[in-house]
């Protein structure tokens, strides 16, 4: 089990996918002057497109009942 009993996450190497789970699906969305909806961006890179859809899609947990 990975555990961080003390100190901010800043001092560890965190999995990018854990960071993006939060940054792409969380945070207050305000129409800033240039705010982009990242999912709308025409993503060229296949891995990035997969990443965005996997993090952002409303895919329920496989065991979650509707």
């Amino acid at each position: 089990m990975t555990m961080a009993p003390e100190g901010p996450l800043a001092h560890q190497q965190i999995a990018l996918v854990d960071v993006l789970d939060r940054l792409l699906a969380g945070g207050v969305v305000i129409t800033g002057d240039l705010t982009l909806r990242i999912a709308d961006v025409d993503l060229v890179r296949i891995d990035l497109r997969a990443l965005i859809s996997s993090v952002n899609a409303n895919v329920p947990s496989p065991w979650e009942e509707p």
Binding site: V19, L20, D21, L23, G27
Partner: protein, 294 residues
Amino acid sequence: MTDGLRYAYAVVRDTGAPEAALDALTALEGVTGVADESVYAVRHLGLAVLASAVPAEDYGEGSLRERLEDMAWLEKMARAHQRVVDTAGAESCVIPVRLATVCHGDEGLRRMLATGRERFASALDRLEGRVEWGVKAYATQPAAEQPPAGTANAADAPSTPDVPDAPSTPGAMSGRDYLRRRKAQRQAAEQRWGDTEEGARLVHDTLGGLAEQSRLHPPQDPRLSGISDRNVLNAAYLVRREDSADFAERVGELAGRTPALRVELTGPWAPYSFTAMDETSGAEGETGSAGADG
């Protein structure tokens, strides 16, 4: 300087203290932002937004779109954003804003605070003193469709003592044995999978009961996480700061009780996954439903 583009990270309460004494800014000493510039605060209406200057050649609207195509660039921005937010939020409450929120100058940042004033204020009231913990569970056993490598040959082997007439009808007996064995294997795999699902549900129900709120993120794609074990639970829990040690302890206990699962705890995070509960919970896909029954 008040011109040029500004990247916003998070919003904090403006306690009225002199700027240098804002808890979040004190924590951020020596921490730079997405473009390696220092982070400062712009105050307005009882709120303060943590921001830093960013160059137009990267963060102007057209360039930003282009840059986001680049995985390495996105990673650098995401990690810097997370570093600023979680460092600032280590001791005090910060409300993260969505990745890649860019404004025109300090005036743009003030406009942003004015636009989101009520949402920021209510989020600060709701999330003060809380942190987010991430819990992921992985199935430690392979899925059911594993071909029985070598099993068919083993069934053919003349080592089965309770099959005396095997030499006369080898095909029939070994075929039946094979099918029987195959069925048993499949049932065992289904049983394991059942245990895994039950285990994940047990983990989530238990932790959901300890948390104020919970949110299920989609399971992580093995191609992105680099972890081949199947991710069966990817959840975030909102926990009072002072209850964090107890929460982490319960996660450890659950990990020990469910051998079919590998359980990972990450955090404490700033409450990223819980900023949107009041205004977009519907649009964000039933974010609150997971914890509603807990």
